[in-house]
Symmetry: C2
Subunit: 374 residues, 2 copies
């Protein structure tokens, strides 16, 4: 994680440069397609499906959206550590290794530090291990044993804290003071954003290669802290690039990015219990500057936990792919969100859209999976 | 399905020709890798793991196998209809369309017929639908509602029969007599074998492209009726091609191919209740001629249902991929079968093997999945 004063500008070219840096360390994840899901998405929902049984009777004249959609699923659940977070973490480490004076000043020995209960912890641990740099990870003692074990298996030094964000931050500050390690935040840093953007960059190239030279019309990604969404927006910001959309859970106030987008002001705190546990955080300031202030994201749409469950089930049964709840919000929007579907109908017309959908990760235990889709 | 008198010879070149014919209709399925599974496979098992707790004490001098393995997983669970069977079915239809006199004789109107309770039914239904040829499918009335619904969704004419093989065959013969449709068997035909072999052909090319020009040392595939195994053997029979191995379940006598292989005589009937439901059949005569008589398969190894369950769990948690029990027997052999692992140690030495593993399919309901890996 480079010092902010030395980070590259947030541009398309910087995402390309990030890709060159991390290519040796990451998987070029495959892109899947599904005739079944294309047909399902391109079939209008019934009024009853849209409004529910009782309400549908009151909407006799409603015309359900008629979008035409062809999906291209970018499977970052097959990425190292099972999520796109490996991209940002490897990029942060590669940039750090190139920061003037870092190595000479003993930076390598002091290592890196972060606090995370999720995929970023594993990603940073793996990236640091790969370059033989010590990683100090602060996790809440309530984190899942599976994630603790995975992070430990990458050789990280674990410190446990209380479950509150303030407790984690205090512990991280103490560890940082003690070790002199460099802080690598999960999303609110240009190096992380540019690294995550490489998923969108790869996806664009893969689709052109397989689609007779025709690129994507649009891309949709989940939005939690906003690293993936803002990185993807940069990766699509070249001349003639696809439109970019964000997707969020709506239950218990998790749609902070959408609310902020509509209000014109970033929401800076969120408390939610959505099943999409990777998206429970609010959007960071730097991602927000790309997403909203620079207008590089066209819109943000939200779906219910029930719609997320239904979509997970489809992805398991039809695509044969293990995804975590956060991963499917983009597909759920395309399948069930009438507002988004009306937009595709209007803008895509009869020809429709080639829509890139980024599946962000697949880190879900079999037990939890059973409960989620029961 | 061409008449046997007009089928191509069972050679490497015929697999290449089959690939050209079916490419427009099938997915080039991705190949995944996993550092975790490579490490696990390259770690010797303990004597206790090999023999069990009680027996281990009696084997103080046993030296567990020390293979070095790098896996390349060919994900045919992402193939159309969720299994490699689409390859053989599309090839059968494409060959039929090119059979002299077939179209002129009204073959297109009479269509195709098969009996199957599994993936072949869906595969033939889809391939026939794609060429607008009627498909008559005989399924046992005890087949899973999911598979019945899937086959019906591809527009096939379904006829139900009793659950016994003899009942299905009698019903199929009656439907064939009535409709004049051409029989397309699930594995015991050159067109099917050559079609299935294209999975191995693709895999070889994909590995060379990603592995710095180095090809596979060996490939292992499941063996039920033997279509996939014999096709893969042909796809690997070019000069300098990889060794080919078969994998089977061992419980309740499912290892008919292995027993036949050791005895030098094909086993022609098998009754088993292994959880690997796609592998409950015995090997067909034409696959056997390739596998055994022409010595194109080096060996066949078996694993227990318990080992299959354990492997499925690993594939879900580590590769994030939905597989059916039959799909993982090759990986299970590489992880748990000491005899195979000793062979890899001996032949691969310190450099080890790049081993291609074909995941044959992913058609398993979420409910069954929950039970299987509980």
């Amino acid at each position: 994680m480079s010092d902010l004063s030395t980070t590259p500008p947030l541009t398309y070219a910087s995402v390309q440069a990030a890709h060159e840096l991390i290519k040796p360390y990451i998987h070029e994840t495959p892109v899947l397609t599904s005739t079944y899901l294309n047909t399902l998405a391109s079939t209008p929902r019934t009024t009853e499906e849209v409004f529910g049984k009782d309400e549908a009777a009151k909407q006799p004249d409603y015309q359900p959206a008629k979008p035409v959609l062809r999906f291209w699923f970018k499977c970052e659940n097959f990425q190292k550590i099972g999520a796109f977070k490996a991209r940002g973490a490897f990029h942060a480490i590669e940039r750090l290794k190139r920061e003037p004076g870092w190595e000479e000043g003993g930076g390598r020995e002091r290592g890196v530090v972060t606090h995370s209960s999720g995929n970023h912890a594993q990603a940073l641990a793996l990236a640091a291990l790969t370059s033989q740099i010590p990683a100090h990870i602060i996790m809440p003692s309530t984190a899942s044993p599976l994630k603790i074990a995975a992070t430990r298996s990458y050789g990280a030094n674990l410190t446990f804290s209380g479950p509150l964000a303030s407790e984690r931050e205090a512990t991280a500050a103490a560890v940082q003071a003690e070790t002199g390690a460099r802080m690598v935040p999960p999303f609110d840093h240009p190096d992380i954003i540019l690294g995550q953007g490489t998923a969108g960059l790869e996806l664009r190239g893969q689709v052109v290669a397989r689609n007779g030279g025709k690129g994507l019309d649009a891309v949709i990604t989940p939005c939690g802290g906003g690293g993936l969404l803002s990185g993807t927006a940069l990766a699509c910001s070249s001349e003639g690039g696809p439109l970019v959309f964000g997707a969020e859970p709506s239950d218990t106030g998790a749609d902070d990015a959408r609310r902020g987008f509509l209000k014109g002001e970033r929401v800076t705190s969120v408390a939610t219990t959505t099943i999409a546990d990777g998206l429970r955080t609010h959007v960071g300031a730097i991602p927000w500057s790309v997403i909203y202030e620079r207008r590089l994201v066209r819109g943000i749409y939200a779906v219910s936990d029930e719609e997320i469950r239904r979509t997970m089930r489809l992805v398991y049964e039809r695509l044969k792919v293990v995804v975590e709840p956060s991963a499917v919000v983009g597909l759920a929007v395309a399948l069930w969100n009438e507002e988004f579907r009306k937009l595709v109908e209007e803008q895509g017309g009869e020809k429709g859209w080639d829509l890139g959908v980024i599946f962000s990760g697949g880190n879900v235990s079999l037990e939890m999976l059973g409960e989620l889709i029961a």
